[in-house]
Amino acid sequence: MKLQDLLLIRHELLLTLTALILIVAEIFIDDKSKKKIVPLALFLMIVVTAAGILFPVNGTAFGGMYQTDALRSAMKTILDIATVIIILQSYGWVSKKVNQNKTSEFYILMISTLVGMNFMISSGDFLMLYLGLELATIPIAAMAAFDRHKSNSAEAGIKLILSSALSSAVLLYGLSLIYGTTGSIYFEEVRAAFRIEPLPILGLVFFVTGMGFKISLVPFHLWTADVYEGSPIAVTSFLSVVSKGAAVFIFTFVLYTVFAPVSAFWSQVLVVLSVTTMTVGNLFALRQENMKRFLAFSSIAQAGFILLGILGQGEQGFGSVIFFLLVYVFTNLAAFSVVAAISDKTGKENMADYNGLYKTNPNLSLIMMLALFSLAGIPPVAGFFGKLFLFSAAASNGYYWLLFVAVMNATISLYYYLRPVRAMFIEKNDNPIPTFKSDIYMRIGIAVSVAGIFLTGFISAIYEYYLSISNLF
């Protein structure tokens, strides 16, 4: 091992260092003022994000197990930005009295998860992918069960750890079959040795199934709604944005590189998964009353749209997927921030509680409306462009009837995205949520998300940049 190799993994090292600093800082902060850890965590994460943007790395380390390039650095930056926003929005929740003694653990777990995702994104072989995936899922289960006084949270934690353990086992079984037939676990060697025979194809199917659990594609989505509803809101937004984003990235990457020789096989699988995911996600979202559950099904439906982009293949496919993930980070975090702000102050999470919100909290209502419009893909905001590029990627590969299904689904989704808007602006309520003012962290977080929704929509250079770095395949 050379020093050069260690410099290549500096982004991961910086994140590990951040977690270690937080552990040490925990010792020196007295029990009464544990929330002082939040500014520290925020500062360190901003430093890491800035370092990742300013000093991108290129290269291969540890004999090909670790690879990094402009594309992977771009994805890491997206995850870093999302984590910064989540730290901002979690302040109101962690500074509550019930969480007094365990504030720092939350951020330590969150950043270790992020380290795992970074290693997963940078993996050059299946062993590193598996290690990163596990480091990215095990701490999240502990985070989901973080509200120890709520039984829902305990239930969410156990559901998450058991379903992710099952999905890891399925994924590993697929990897063992691929290893048995190709004789290697390195991406490039597997690609070179991959033959179109039943056993490796079975391995591919198991791999898609295992990743499908992580991305919550539709036959494998059953854990999603319960975990999203039961977890604390900061964890829900982390799961729906950061966790899902990292899994989508590596899934796309492995399909495009390792399984490129059999793209005819996996694209058939993805067409079916895409149709079921969009349709089932949308139909179940129609009847949800809890806002977190509603956003859970919305995020399942969005995963179906992401598959359209993956089906586009080539640089247009990957570029549109990454751009959509960036848009999705800002959009979904804006929506979750509003839900978190209201839940922190009043504890209310149901759609009926939002009736008449515009009268008392016009700003929050407008932000929520903007986020929902962006999720639905209404033109002026970024969500429209995200969906447009996904759709055109699929169209460029000739999936016209799939596109028809997707447009139908986008129309259905408009109905349920407008339901909270109707509740906030039109419905009358004798006892609405009172006017309140959120803390400064939450307001900065919301401002960043809203700015992101507009900027990613209006600055076309971002998409062109992603397109230019995705031409690796």
């Binding site: 299946f126 062993l127 598996y130 290690l131 596990e134 095990i138 289960a141 502990a142 069960a145 120890r148 039984s151 829902n152 305990a154 239930e155 969410a156 934690g157 156990i158 750890i161 058991l162 353990a165 099952l166 890891s168 086992a169 399925v170 590993l172 079984y173 990897l175 063992s176 079959l177 290893y179 048995g180 004789g183 290697s184 676990i185 709604a225 319960d226 509803e229 039961g230």
Partner: protein, 105 residues
């Protein structure tokens, strides 16, 4: 290398173990038993990796090392899962999945 036991014997055992684990995960109602089923699945993967490595690619060690990592991570996963099961027991006074169903549909 003299093979007394052919490779496919190992594969039959591991496949049976894997699907026993899947069935156990779905059928069993006790959280600890569900966790055991997952461990069974992971161990079947270990058998696969080691058998493939030993019989097909004996000059490399990738399969063996993969197995070592799986064993370590399975232990970590079990530790967190059991902690969460204890948490469930404190909240619901039961570790039967039929009682842990506050959220549905």
């Amino acid at each position: 290398m003299s093979h007394t036991i052919p490779l496919h014997y190992f594969l039959i055992v591991s496949t049976l173990m894997f699907f026993t684990g899947v069935a156990g995960f779905i059928i069993r109602r006790n959280l600890i038993t569900i966790l055991m089923s997952v461990e069974l699945m992971l161990n079947s993967v270990n058998i696969n990796f080691v058998a493939f490595n030993r019989y097909l690619y004996p000059d490399q060690m990738q399969g063996h090392f993969f197995t070592l990592f799986i064993v370590a991570i399975a232990a970590a996963e079990a530790a967190v899962a059991i902690a969460l099961i204890i948490n469930i027991y404190r909240k619901f006074n039961s570790i039967e999945v039929d009682h842990v169903d506050e959220m549905k549909y």
